[in-house]
């Protein structure tokens, strides 16, 4: 099943997206954020909270900001103080939090730089060991055929999540995503420890990551499969979550270059800086990112806004490339959200999904189920999900977030997940090679629709390039939501880099071909 697409249009759209991303990236690299510096300290090994449960990375970074040193980055003052006081990472963090030590710019900058590099190398070694563990486990595990079955747990209690995740894995899930507590994206710190109280999800904490990872490894070993773990690398703590995920061997992260700006009203400048660092860490850790274009289709109309998905995917692809990410880790998102009442809607879903498949042949596409038009009619909902699965099977989607027939009612019951898996397995197996057997009528409805969406996406990207991405977002070009450069949450955490700013991670984590990578 192949659409005839004008390759020159794809190339032109991609080139425009590359120029759009580079312009934003160049601007972003003149600044840093509190979250990037906290992530740096977390990668150094700083963890824990003070008596008021404020995480030590926050305490140290706030201290640096108060001392007017944040523009230099956390790495040099922190590593320099470790040398000067002969303290390890945690002891120094505690001393700073208790007000016993005031951080300064190190007198011996080359020594501090070397110390920071050594700390970063230790972190990189741990992350590389995680990558090796994952590769070993995947090698000895049964092959996971695509589309992978991706399921969500969302009880609010990490221990209950583990019960649900184990059951889902036993029923056939390939990927488990632990939904975060609603509102976590707007916290400017990462909660600490194992948590049992969340709303609509469970707090992303390093300890929760560790607990779920261990549980999935255990059940995976029992089943002879590797169960991938997903969390949410988004919001105000995007870089820190990336660091935590890399340290605890998560396999996927929801991570979008623009989602926070548009849907969470997080400051645009902050997001572009944070997404670069977080994607660099994700790429280094072999973590597949999942982008959030599906959200455009729940806010705007899925038929009319189809081209905004493709345009955004191309932008996300280019931002990811600037962070050193290979296409094989770019889980670009899209969704099955056309109004079921629309005549021939299934054809348009096929056209959209196949278009994305062909524009990004190497990307592990993430396909999202119907949500907007799901109702309390669970019987119809099950049919909607089956049609969604049919498109996923026919167009070779890679990561299929399974639809729940109770989507509109509650966070999934155990049986909802079971029925969702049963539905998907039936459709995937019975239609396994259908896509290879069918051809799309040349010049027919499906092909014309795909060509139309491609042309619209190209035009949109060229328009965005002309005015710049911030201005385009300011005009509400994505999801009909407008955001301004100096608006939104978290702008106060953006700092201009001082002369001599230093962060040891880009030169260790970025590939040589990229600016900021190894010299």
């Amino acid at each position: 099943m192949k659409l005839a697409l004008d390759q020159s249009r794809i190339d032109a759209a991609r080139a425009a997206a590359a120029r759009i991303a580079r312009a934003v990236h160049a601007e972003a690299m003149t600044r840093t954020t509190v979250a990037v510096e906290r992530a740096t300290l977390r990668l150094f090994g700083l963890d824990g909270v003070d008596v008021d449960y404020v995480p030590l990375p926050n305490r140290v970074v706030d201290h640096l900001a108060a001392e007017g040193l944040l523009g230099h980055g956390a790495a040099l003052p922190f590593a320099g103080a470790m040398l000067e006081h002969g303290l390890d990472v945690q002891a120094l963090g505690e001393a700073v939090a208790q007000g016993r030590i005031t951080l300064t710019l190190p007198r011996d900058i080359p020594a501090a730089r070397a110390k920071a590099r050594a700390l970063a190398q230790t972190a990189c070694a741990r992350i590389r060991a995680n990558v090796a563990t994952r590769e070993d486990k995947l090698e000895s595990a049964a092959l996971q055929r695509t589309p992978w079955l991706y399921l969500i747990v969302a009880t609010g209690n990490i221990y209950e999540d583990i019960t649900q995740a184990r059951a889902a894995a036993q029923q056939g899930a390939d990927v488990i995503a632990v939904i975060r507590s609603t509102g976590q994206s707007l916290l400017d710190y990462v909660p600490y420890g194992a948590t049992t109280e969340g709303f609509g999800g469970t707090y992303a904490t390093q300890e929760n990551f560790r607990l779920m990872r261990a549980a999935l490894d255990e059940v995976g070993d029992e089943l002879g499969r590797y169960i991938r773990l997903t969390n949410y690398c988004s919001g105000l703590c995007m870089p820190e979550i990336a660091a935590m995920g890399a340290l605890e061997r998560l396999d996927m992260m929801l991570n979008d270059a623009m989602y926070g700006i548009i849907f969470r009203d997080i400051n645009l400048q902050r997001t572009f800086i944070d997404q670069f660092f977080s994607r660099m860490v994700n790429a280094y850790a072999g973590i597949i990112i999942n982008t959030g274009e599906d959200n455009y289709l729940t806010t705007a109309d899925a038929y009319e806004a189809a081209h905004t998905v493709l345009a955004s995917q191309l932008i996300n692809e280019q931002f990811a490339a600037l962070s050193g990410m290979a296409p094989e880790l770019m889980g670009l998102g899209h969704a099955f959200e056309i109004n079921p009442a629309l005549e021939n809607g299934f054809l348009w879903e096929l056209a959209h999904a196949q278009l994305v498949r062909q524009v990004f042949p190497d990307a592990p596409l993430k396909y999202m189920p119907p949500t907007k038009y799901m109702t309390g009619n669970i019987f119809k909902g099950h049919v909607q999900d089956a049609l969604f699965n049919a498109v996923g099977a026919m167009t070779g989607q890679h990561i299929q977030l399974l639809g729940m027939m109770t989507e509109a009612i509650h966070t999934p019951f155990l049986q909802d997940r079971f029925l969702g898996i049963e539905n998907a397995r039936y459709v995937f197996d019975t239609m396994r090679d259908l896509g290879e057997e069918l051809s799309i009528t040349p010049g027919g409805r499906i092909e014309r629709r795909a060509q139309e969406v491609l042309a619209q996406a190209q035009a949109m990207l060229e328009e965005i390039e002309a005015i710049g991405l911030p201005a385009a977002i300011g005009r509400g070009q994505f999801a009909d939501i407008a955001r301004q450069s100096d608006g939104g949450k978290g702008l106060a955490g953006v700092v201009t880099r001082a002369e001599g700013y230093f962060n040891p991670f880009p030169e260790l984590m970025l590939p040589e071909s990229l600016e900021g990578g190894p010299a």
């Binding site: 969470r264 729940t298 509109a408 155990l414 049986q415 079971f418 939501i481």
Partner: protein, 260 residues
């Protein structure tokens, strides 16, 4: 057996009047076995089903079993005893609502909408507010006589109240989608307190909406109306305008710009 035609007593209908046939599905945290099926059957009996039949039992991993059960419900309901608390209004179409506002207010009706507190879901408030609306029903932004201010999701109650005052809103629409551990009730109570503290008890028409919101619940929490699934902009706007008229004694032809 049946005199339902006279007394208006009803039972579930399978394929014959008063056969009482119902279906349900549930999970028991036990391994799939004959004992598990018998347990499901006995549970159905306890629920008031005669002749329950476990028509499907599937193992969901080693620890859980899914059941589909049919049975005959023993219970019946007298329709004449049923009353439902629901907002009283006549559903008008967009043009009629616009005309009513123009005629009654002589200015635009100001509607502020938000999904409050920790809830990050804009889908409900967008369906009512955004110009495109939902399912072919245009949203309030597309109404000529409505000034619709959609604040999106995760709006703090105190911030919302300040905005309501700044916008001089006539109507406040509050959406709540997440209901785990009754967080929606907690959030709606908090907002009501903030509104009362700001003295917005009388003039402002406050409407709650969401998949688990009923009119009864909304009234209980001190809201003027509650709208559940399947409600569209015209439902909410019709209610709001008719409620406005009730409060303002059907005054018509007010001077432009004059506040009620």
């Amino acid at each position: 057996m049946s005199n339902s035609a006279k007394t208006n007593i009803v039972r579930p209908y399978g394929d014959t009047l008063d056969d009482g046939r119902v279906q349900m599905s549930f999970t028991l945290p036990v391994p799939h076995s004959e004992e598990a099926k018998e347990a499901a059957r006995q549970l159905a009996l306890k629920m008031g089903l005669d002749d329950p039949a476990v028509v499907h039992a599937a193992p969901m991993g080693p620890d859980f079993t899914l059941f589909v059960v049919y049975g005959q419900c023993r219970h019946s309901i007298d329709m004449d005893t049923i009353t439902v608390d629901q907002p009283e209004f006549e559903v008008l179409d967009k043009a009629a609502i616009d005309a009513l506002i123009a005629d009654s207010l002589g200015r635009k009706l100001v509607v502020v909408g938000a999904c409050i507190e920790t809830d990050a879901h804009t889908v409900g408030i967008d369906a009512i507010m955004n110009a495109k609306g939902f399912n072919g029903h245009k949203g309030l932004e597309s109404y000529h006589e409505v000034r619709a201010v959609n604040l999106g999701a995760q709006v703090d109650s105190a911030d919302l109240v300040r905005r309501v005052i700044a916008e001089r809103a006539d109507v406040l629409l509050v959406s709540q989608v997440v209901t785990q551990k009754d967080i929606h009730v907690v959030n709606l109570r908090r907002l009501r307190q903030e509104l009362d503290r700001a003295g917005l008890g009388q003039d402002l028409i406050v409407v709650a909406g969401g998949p688990r919101i009923t009119h009864e619940l909304a009234r209980e929490l001190g809201y003027d109306a509650g709208f559940g699934p399947g409600s569209y902009a015209e439902d909410v706007a019709s209610f709001a305008m008719q409620e406005w008229l009730r409060r303002h004694g059907h005054q018509r032809g007010r001077q432009r710009g004059e506040r009620p």
